[in-house]
């Protein structure tokens, strides 16, 4: 019993160290966002000056607005397109199914650097060009594979015979879908949409290559600020982003069990 106790304590200590490593930089950065010194000097003096500076930084505000807007539209488009494809995979058997499912892997496994630069080349070559529309095109593509997988997993929990029962009972296919399948599918749809939102909101590499001068999303703006030199305003906006995405993740975790059954 005491040996088991020591074992659990040892395991707890190790996991504590891992968590300390994972959270150390994040905590330091958030603390520095509230520090008055612009050069990150100690001793720590509490001040909201960087958050106030943020409120008047038009470039960062415009970039944040772009990021939010693109993430919302990405979530909407990817969820609808993904739901249609997931429906086909869940309810029909056809020859190309396996191929189509395998085709979902390249967009998420090929390094973003390569996907991003190839979009840049292609969009320039075809005249689609760079800009927010190009960034949106790219973000939806990155979110789609995840969305199809997440919704597909939920479809397995929706019994196809319920839909058939509705059809035999005289419902039109549209009614059967909207009244029976859709409500049962809802948790998967919400998880997928939040997932797509997070993928888009956090996406830097693709946006970086597709943003023309003067147009940017939040990560692109942060990157150029970091490259130009440190500014505590970036800490303030980073602290906000971290809190926002962690909050979002907690909501996703409620709808979608990660790591299987626990």
């Amino acid at each position: 019993m005491t040996r088991d106790g020591a074992r659990v304590w040892g395991a707890g200590l190790y996991l504590g160290l891992m968590l300390a490593f994972l959270y150390l930089p994040i905590v330091v950065m958030i603390v520095m966002a509230f520090n008055r010194s612009p050069l990150y000097e100690l001793p720590f003096v509490f001040d909201l000056v960087w958050f106030k500076a943020l409120a008047t930084n038009d470039r960062l505000l415009q970039a944040s607005f772009n990021s939010l807007w693109i993430a919302l539209v990405t979530a909407a488009i990817a969820t609808v397109l993904g739901m249609l494809a997931a429906y086909a995979f869940a309810r029909y058997e056809f020859r190309a199914k396996r191929t189509l499912q395998v085709l979902l892997f390249p967009p998420i496994t090929i390094p973003w650097l390569i996907v991003g630069t190839s979009m840049l080349v292609f969009f320039f070559w075809t005249g689609i060009g760079r800009g927010l529309h190009a960034i949106l095109l790219g973000h939806v593509a990155l979110a789609l594979p995840y969305v199809i997988v997440v919704i597909g997993a939920r479809f397995q929990a929706v019994d196809a015979s319920l839909e058939e029962a509705a059809l035999t009972a005289g419902a039109s296919p549209w009614q059967a879908f909207t009244r029976i399948t859709l409500p049962l599918l809802a948790p998967g749809l919400i998880a997928a949409a939040l997932f797509a939102f997070a993928v888009s909101f956090d996406q830097f590499v693709i946006s970086y290559f597709l943003a023309p001068p003067g147009v940017s999303t939040l990560p692109v703006e942060i990157y150029s600020a970091i490259r130009k030199g440190f500014t505590p305003e970036i800490n303030a906006v980073s602290a906000l982003i971290i809190l926002l995405s962690m909050g979002l993740m907690l909501i996703v975790a409620r709808f979608y069990k990660f790591g299987g059954e626990r």
Partner: protein, 271 residues
């Protein structure tokens, strides 16, 4: 027959939007980039490009390219190895020794930060590694940042595979007289190999393709293939060369995974 045609039309209508989107944004661009990689100049703005293999031969003849590709590969090995080394015990303790609410809370705490912005997390290391620690803009700084970025992936995938191991198998090994070390080497480790393999895949590939982490944490020491490719597209505007280097990078990733897979598979077959 009419029913079959109707079914085919339905499937087409359901899958076409998503896959046309992917074709336009991923598959066609990759094809066009492959075409660009064989050209002498970027065929835009009226310039006439000719077919050439120079962009690929340059990779082997110019030290800057193959040497940095080697550095990327090396970084991929180091980051993957360190992540597995740190993640395995964490996943094991979490899956087998810790139970109940504690397990759930720690698990959530581990995966939470990896959903926050990767760029922001990389940036946050500059606060820690600058003076007086004095590691910023060094090779170890890039290593630390990348291990930090990918450690949760490794813990997550290994945890899932350990979680799936039936505890009765472990008990059976013990009651048949296996020592704890034997039980681990002959039962637990082989059965958790799928998780280790997916971690390798999930970490190695993006690390080879990373450019933002080396740029932010490595400064002038960011000599890897990723930042060089980025430079060809963003500042040097030599798109054909950048395209060729991208495909070389893809080939390297594929070859490394193919070369490594028998080794890892043999381990998995020990069971």
């Amino acid at each position: 027959m009419a029913l079959e045609a109707g079914k085919a039309r339905t499937i087409l209508a359901l899958t076409a939007p998503a896959y046309l989107w992917l074709a336009l944004t991923v598959f066609l661009p990759l094809a066009v980039m492959l075409y660009f990689s064989f050209l002498t100049v970027t065929p835009l703005g009226g310039r006439v490009a000719e077919f050439t293999l120079t962009n690929y031969t340059d990779f082997f003849t110019k030290r800057i390219y193959w040497f940095n590709a080697w550095r990327s590969l090396e970084m991929g090995f180091y980051v993957t190895a360190l992540c597995l080394l740190f993640a395995y015990p964490a996943a094991f303790f979490l899956a087998k020794w810790i139970a109940g609410r504690w397990r759930e809370a720690i698990f959530l705490l581990i995966i939470l930060p990896f959903w926050s912005n990767a760029l922001v997390r990389t940036f946050s290391w500059t606060m820690v590694l600058r003076e007086p620690v004095g590691l910023l803009f060094t090779y170890p700084a890039i290593l630390i940042g990348l291990v930090h970025a990918y450690l949760p992936y490794a813990i997550l995938t290994i945890y899932v595979s350990l979680q799936a191991i039936d505890d009765r198998l472990i008990e059976a090994a013990t009651s048949l007289g296996a020592s704890p070390r034997q039980t681990f080497a002959r039962v637990i480790l082989p059965l958790s190999m799928p998780g280790v393999l997916s971690a390798v895949f999930l970490i190695f590939v993006p690390v080879i393709g990373s450019f933002m982490e080396p740029r932010i944490l490595g400064g002038k020491n960011a000599i890897m293939l990723g930042p060089i490719i980025e430079g060809e597209f963003v500042s040097a505007f030599n798109w054909p060369l950048g395209s060729a280097l991208s495909f070389v990078m893809l080939a390297i990733v594929l070859l490394a995974l193919i070369a490594g897979s028998p080794l890892l598979k043999r381990y998995a077959d020990l069971a």
